[in-house]
């Protein structure tokens, strides 16, 4: 029974993914437009940093080529989060408000899985590739030497970053139960994830350093992009890598407990 558990969820997820891909491909024009918006957004980010780097050679110890690796890593990671979870979490507010959440809670599947992994937004998947392309271009311009171990550590840290970001999104989603109209989850996520958008070295000085420490060790959102990117292009810090692994487990566990606690407060309106 216990052995069947992961296969069952993997099979379910595979089918959900296939179903959403079919849906997405029946609106091909829309799919193409979505991708062009993302290309545009990446273009704006590149234009922004090119403009900035025309006036400086270093941002918080990051030269231009390495900084673009960071940008690519952020773009890929946030694309992955958007593809897998953002739309699902955004729908949660509507489920709570209308009481339709009842129908999901009644199903014999883990609630968190069903609520946060129901749909895959394939339109955001190309962001991962675009981010990877930026990272590749950055490594190329740095004259990076191929190192399979470093790539492996990077991929593990990237996965940890995704798990941490997912957990924070889940916690923000859970708040919806009490606030009811949390229609702006997408916006809230955008605002909150702005902390992960820049190298954590910018958090220095009297008032900024405590903020940086808080968001690294207490609410570790700063680890999300920083640890994989730093590991790959700046320096491998084994302590930070180990801490990120521990923090990932902790944050995933806490957010799951918080989500379940929130579901117990759900009042099932209108049913």
């Amino acid at each position: 029974m216990l052995n069947a558990w992961p296969t069952r969820y993997l099979r379910l997820y595979w089918n959900l993914g296939r179903y959403t891909l079919n849906r997405e491909l029946s609106f091909r024009g829309n799919f193409l437009v979505k991708i062009s918006v993302e290309v545009l957004w990446l273009g704006i980010l590149v234009a922004f940093y090119r403009t900035v780097f025309a006036r400086t050679s270093l941002i918080a110890g990051w030269p231009e080529d390495k900084y673009f690796f960071f940008v690519g890593c952020f773009f890929a990671l946030s694309g992955l989060i958007e593809a897998l979870f953002l739309e699902n979490c955004n729908d949660f507010a509507e489920l709570v408000r209308t009481g339709d959440l009842d129908f999901l809670l009644l199903r014999p599947i883990d609630e968190q899985f069903l609520i946060s992994c129901r749909k895959v937004d394939w339109g955001s998947m190309p962001n991962v590739l675009m981010g990877a392309a930026v990272m590749g271009a950055s490594l190329y311009s740095m004259g990076w030497q191929f190192d399979p171990w470093l790539i492996l550590i990077f991929l593990v840290m990237f996965a940890c970053g995704t798990a941490i970001a997912y957990s924070f999104m889940l916690a923000l989603t859970a708040l919806t139960v009490w606030m009811v109209r949390n229609q702006s989850l997408m916006e809230m996520w955008w605002l909150f994830s702005s902390l992960a958008r820049y190298p954590k070295e910018i958090f220095n000085g009297t008032w900024a350093e405590p903020i940086g420490v808080f968001f690294t060790f207490v609410l570790p959102i700063l680890l999300v992009v920083n640890v994989p990117a730093t590991t790959m292009v700046q320096a491998l810090d084994p302590k930070m890598v180990a801490f990120t692994l521990v923090a990932t487990l902790g944050v995933v566990w806490v957010s799951r407990r918080f989500f379940q606690y929130a579901l117990r407060s759900y009042r099932s309106a209108s049913s």
Binding site: W41, F48, T51, V52, S57, W178, S184, L191, S194, S270
Partner: protein
């Protein structure tokens, strides 16, 4: 976090509330003739929208708190950029002016951003609910304008305290308030910026008469607007000819222009010139949205029940 008093359905942004419908019905058939009743009618729309907006305070305040996070990271990023460059001034902006500029663009956007407006109009066209504006004695664009003003007033009033606090904390980035004429020009540019934002988005929304799906177009426009309005960085930093081109377009009035007025970077004849150009753009988009609406109505076939 405050629980809402009722669990009423969240407004889709455009539904006239029952309160409003009941009251306009009660005004009787003579309502369309007197200007006073017209004012009363739009005042009712304004009031109902304001009440609706304030029903979800918990969500609203939490969102306001989160809204400060990007400001913190932006300040830190630009500090790192100035430290990295080793220069006192980039494109005529000192570090203090740069942060002041980026804080001020938030005020500009507070007036000029119109979340959900174009998408809402397009949805009404697609779903056929637009026909209620033909039956009721309310002009769609006039109704939406009142609705939007109410939302902006509610937004500005409720975010006044957090913003005042933010500007107080960041007062070191400013050299005090500018003189009275500059302040007047600043407020004028904000109000005109609101009108440009409104009529521009209304124009985009009415494109829905021709293309049923405009949300994608909207995403492209909004994404681009974020950059070309100067919300991310002052347009002066861009290499030529891009800086000059963008200052010629209407989008700069939604973020860049009010901020540089406040900072005293545009004065005298140039200020007058740009204000006149801004009025021109308001009129341009007003006429455009109305024309598109009128021509669109001819094509409109009122789908749905």
């Amino acid at each position: 976090m405050t629980l809402p008093d009722t669990l009423e359905p969240a407004s889709q942004g455009l539904q006239p509330t029952t309160d409003f419908e009941a009251k306009t019905d009660a005004l009787g058939p003579e309502r369309a003739t007197s200007p006073l009743s017209t004012i009363r009618k739009y005042y009712k729309i304004f009031r109902a929208s304001l009440v609706e907006r304030m029903a979800y305070r918990g969500d609203f305040f939490f969102g306001t708190i989160l809204r400060f996070l990007p400001m913190i990271t932006t300040i830190l990023l630009w500090r790192a950029i100035y430290e990295g460059s080793g220069q006192q001034s980039l494109a005529g902006f000192s570090y203090r002016e740069m942060i002041a500029y980026l804080l001020l663009t938030n005020i500009s956007r507070m007036f000029s951003s119109m979340p959900g407006l174009a998408g809402g109009i397009a949805r009404e066209i697609r779903e056929g609910t637009l026909k209620r504006y033909m039956i009721q004695p309310v002009d769609m664009i006039g109704y939406l304008l009142c609705y939007r003003i109410a939302h902006k007033v509610a937004y500005i009033v409720t975010s006044f305290i957090p913003y005042a606090l933010l500007f107080y904390v960041c007062r070191g980035f400013f050299d005090g308030l500018p003189d009275a004429p500059t302040m007047a020009a600043f407020f004028l540019s904000l109000i005109l910026g609101f009108l440009i934002g409104f009529f521009f988005e209304a124009s985009v929304g009415t494109v829905g008469f021709w293309f049923l799906e405009v949300t994608s177009l909207l995403y492209i426009v909004m994404t681009l607007n974020f950059f070309i309005s100067g919300h991310m960085l002052p347009l002066d930093l861009l290499p030529e000819p891009w800086g000059s081109i963008l200052k010629f377009l209407p989008f700069q009035y939604m973020a860049y222009f009010p901020a540089v007025i406040f900072l005293g970077k545009i004065k005298g004849a140039a200020l007058a010139y740009y204000l006149i150009a801004e009025v021109f753009w308001v009129v341009f988009f007003l006429v455009l949205s109305r024309t598109l609406y009128r021509f669109g109505l001819r094509r409109y076939s009122a789908f749905g029940g």
